[in-house]
Symmetry: D2
Subunit: 336 residues, 4 copies
Amino acid sequence: MRFLSDNTGTVCPEILAALGQANHGLAAPYGEDEWTARLDGALGAFFGVELRAFAALTGTAANALALATLSPPYGAIFAHEQAHIVTDECGAPGFFSGGAQLAPLPGEHGRLAATTLATALALPVDLHHVQPAALSLTQPTECGTVYRPRDIEQLAALAHARGLKVHMDGARFANALAFLDCHPGDVSWRAGVDVLSFGATKTGALAAEAVVFFDPALVRDFELRRKRAGQLLSKSRYVAAQLLAYIESGLWKRNALRTNALAQRIGAAASSALLHPVEANEVFLRLGVPRRHALREAGFEFYDSGPEEAGEARFVVAWDQRESDVQALCEALGRH
Amino acid sequence: MRFLSDNTGTVCPEILAALGQANHGLAAPYGEDEWTARLDGALGAFFGVELRAFAALTGTAANALALATLSPPYGAIFAHEQAHIVTDECGAPGFFSGGAQLAPLPGEHGRLAATTLATALALPVDLHHVQPAALSLTQPTECGTVYRPRDIEQLAALAHARGLKVHMDGARFANALAFLDCHPGDVSWRAGVDVLSFGATKTGALAAEAVVFFDPALVRDFELRRKRAGQLLSKSRYVAAQLLAYIESGLWKRNALRTNALAQRIGAAASSALLHPVEANEVFLRLGVPRRHALREAGFEFYDSGPEEAGEARFVVAWDQRESDVQALCEALGRH
Amino acid sequence: MRFLSDNTGTVCPEILAALGQANHGLAAPYGEDEWTARLDGALGAFFGVELRAFAALTGTAANALALATLSPPYGAIFAHEQAHIVTDECGAPGFFSGGAQLAPLPGEHGRLAATTLATALALPVDLHHVQPAALSLTQPTECGTVYRPRDIEQLAALAHARGLKVHMDGARFANALAFLDCHPGDVSWRAGVDVLSFGATKTGALAAEAVVFFDPALVRDFELRRKRAGQLLSKSRYVAAQLLAYIESGLWKRNALRTNALAQRIGAAASSALLHPVEANEVFLRLGVPRRHALREAGFEFYDSGPEEAGEARFVVAWDQRESDVQALCEALGRH
Amino acid sequence: MRFLSDNTGTVCPEILAALGQANHGLAAPYGEDEWTARLDGALGAFFGVELRAFAALTGTAANALALATLSPPYGAIFAHEQAHIVTDECGAPGFFSGGAQLAPLPGEHGRLAATTLATALALPVDLHHVQPAALSLTQPTECGTVYRPRDIEQLAALAHARGLKVHMDGARFANALAFLDCHPGDVSWRAGVDVLSFGATKTGALAAEAVVFFDPALVRDFELRRKRAGQLLSKSRYVAAQLLAYIESGLWKRNALRTNALAQRIGAAASSALLHPVEANEVFLRLGVPRRHALREAGFEFYDSGPEEAGEARFVVAWDQRESDVQALCEALGRH
């Protein structure tokens, strides 16, 4: 029973159907097709604002392309020290940007606090320093917690006041929306986000991330970087069709509500071991090494969190996870 | 009627079916799935040699990742001056390699001649020069012509004698195989190719390119570069499944034979205007500006070749191009 | 007797004296010293226009830093195919710019012709191409010839009309000025040059190049790139002092006139073998392999030009070359 | 009275004399001169081992070039969080390496503790992480403290056990040697250092850093990177002559002993305010904002250390600092 990550899941039937429906007739390649032409409108309706949206194929590429557009090669990119861009992308932001430097900051439960950012941004900067260029927030965070709209507003305001652009890594953005039950604009452009990596893969797509620009000035640079990075699909209709189905069918919400709820069931079954509040679809437990081992022996697959000896574990639910898997995990956790 | 490129085509039914068949159960992400596990074996059987194969999502990424693995940042990459990596990838080789310099060489009908390469490689090299690192051959070439096994052997031998590695851009490799009717090994590893970008997208896949390493020493570097470039799919089973279906169903051949044959019909209908022999699926015609304009007025879509005023045109057939389109084009060409 | 290059020369007494004069008292580092503070004014007076000038330590760095400021990583940099940036900087422009692609163009006697550039710039550009960003002219050219003010005006106008910036590699700029006997502005800003690499090393300095921005908008980006590239000297007074002495003592002219004149004597001694007109301080001769060999046997050091078997040779005079060396070379050339 | 940094100093007479002595006759450029030819031998004698040494022009370039040779673009470079490469080189390591990621670690008084490094290196690494590639130690540290030979041995052994290479930033290496009164080999190759940036500028040279390779396997890559970065001087004799004079005249020791002693006098004059032990030539004091302000009003120039409101200050002595300056500073500190 796999609780490794939500990307263990299959492709949602609506997405597969959308691929099938797009599969007729010859279409102009490289984003000149009619599906891609609808992206700006569909995502604009979703977010309630005029915007420019571009498809990318992985979350790593979406994040790193967005950040390369926001930061010069001598820029500093502020982010939580556990952010995916800092820890799990094999240095992609440095690669795509031509050497921008990550400025990792600490923060409880995966969240950056405004005071922490304010202190970091107050340090003097001169010619010898990398130049503060961007703030990257992860929503939900890598600890499965969710920034409230007000949190993002505060952080973004601090960043903007210093001339930084604000990026959001929303690989599981749907889970945050489902948890907050708010308008998508409330935790993006209305709160000060300039560019959002809006992931669909983890919540049911095959491979589709939208990079959403609420600030259109940066768009041409992004398009050229995307092409050059091999992220512009020739048969681009098939990635656009995924994003359209994801947004327009409402599957993002259905899947996010389900995985959030199942994650909360797991959290509730081991509430005394919880490392972080369970808000979106990730559960972090301090199990101890023997109990963690026993769970694996019992057939559960999941990742360690932190160093081996800490005995911590992360559980994530796939959109199509069988309820019986979750039930079995809850029982196993209860037994221990 | 679109003759823009073979990437205007849909996804072949066998590929779509393979996606459906892979769409059950949770699978370990990032290439740890059972479909990816079969890639080395399936491609090894196809090429008749032990090899390592990796999926990438676009031809640009496959080429640039392979070249970045073959060339240091101060390397020189020799290629035909019309090669896709030189003209149509927005500088991707320079980006992925950290600044390697392209060394474009001329050659009739898109092919590099051994004497041209030999002359280029005979120039003295010292500390002030970019260091010859790789030769990239395009098979079939950008002019739709095909290198014979002996051609590749000669070019690869020259490169190897100078310490260069040999890359092949095989975005339409199936078309070359279908034209030559030879074993896949004859124009790859047996002829001296070290790394092959083996494209499936243009011949029927959704988005799938295999980067095939006949020299396994380079593999770890490649894997890290691929991750860092956002080309490692989380739901990697879906790209592996495409490649497996592409190879194992024989669709590569069926589609390549069909598009080659249709291209030759077009070539035959305008034989006096042919700029290059029609060997694989590309037809280049010197039409003159007015005739080219008239064809477009008549509803045919295709790209210019060369500067606007040259009046040249390129026609490529999609794997699922309707025969009636081709018939109509042939008639239109005949009329002029 | 060395005719390898003008950089075989010593440091001119005026320069050495300037180093000595700067050598008292503690000075603020990293360009905050009083010598550096005078650079803009001194070079502004020389060029007859307000400008911003920065010191760099080598010609390669001056060129590549300037080009990185003018071109995005996905840019194309047009230059003569024999330009130093194309052939002799180990790929520095690609490195400093993050992968910009050189677009080498042919041209007689090292000069780009306006028609050649116009043709290159007329080619259609879309998302798949590197984006034309900069034109780099070498003055004097790598063949020792000199662009006339009108030549540069034409080329720069073509570049500007297409939105490109114009860079000039003036490693031997003094020799061009001495040959033309024109105002420095006539072959720089008045003719459309945006950024000039103005070399002093070859004409008598120890190690000093000024990067001169006639377009101040680009300056901050350049300063950060220079620091990051390790080209901002901590004891910057010593490079500024060289540049000031170079300009203000008139030694640039004295040295350039002398080396031009000696080069012309060499050219006159072998006029039938001349490959290019001798305008600035470089003489290219087609000697044939045996005669070239004989000259080396007789104790003359110089570089081959072109492939070994072409039998061509390049002679450059150092600012402090003994006249007897030149006399001996002329006689040796005359004897053959 | 300037206590900003040791790079405010002039050029030591021995160095200036060496420049003068090198200033005769034409010399082959780009490191082919007789002075450069002596570098390996002179530095080998100094360090007591066969080595390869190369000149660079700034500390930033020396460090970043060395690190780019030690780390792939997807590498992680471990260093103290206050290391110059982390805080004061405008991202140079990321630039020169093509995007390697810094992994900053905490440590008291500027020193990395073995346990801290051991913990960091014990974290699991897979395809998604930057790959541990190098450890960079600063000797003396940015806090003016000095690693003992045994400290370096332990740290280097940990690094080597995990396959990392060890770099040392020795911008003030002479000060560490003078403080320890040990053999130069004891805190470099014998302790496990693979590559040393051995600075001469701060201790009396004009602009000269030696990059010393105790592991010759990496040398060719370094040479090409140096050329490409514009750090290979054409008139290279003048940087080699500086390094030779620096080593062979013993001025490194004379200057380092003097500046260390003066720094200790300053430290003794304000011992209750000391933030770190004064071992090499840097004194860090917690003065409080008003007292710091008063010192500046009294004519002393120095940098803040840490955020403005912390009231901390750094004092560094130039090799040619007047003793009366130091006396005045000590008195002013005593008065407060």
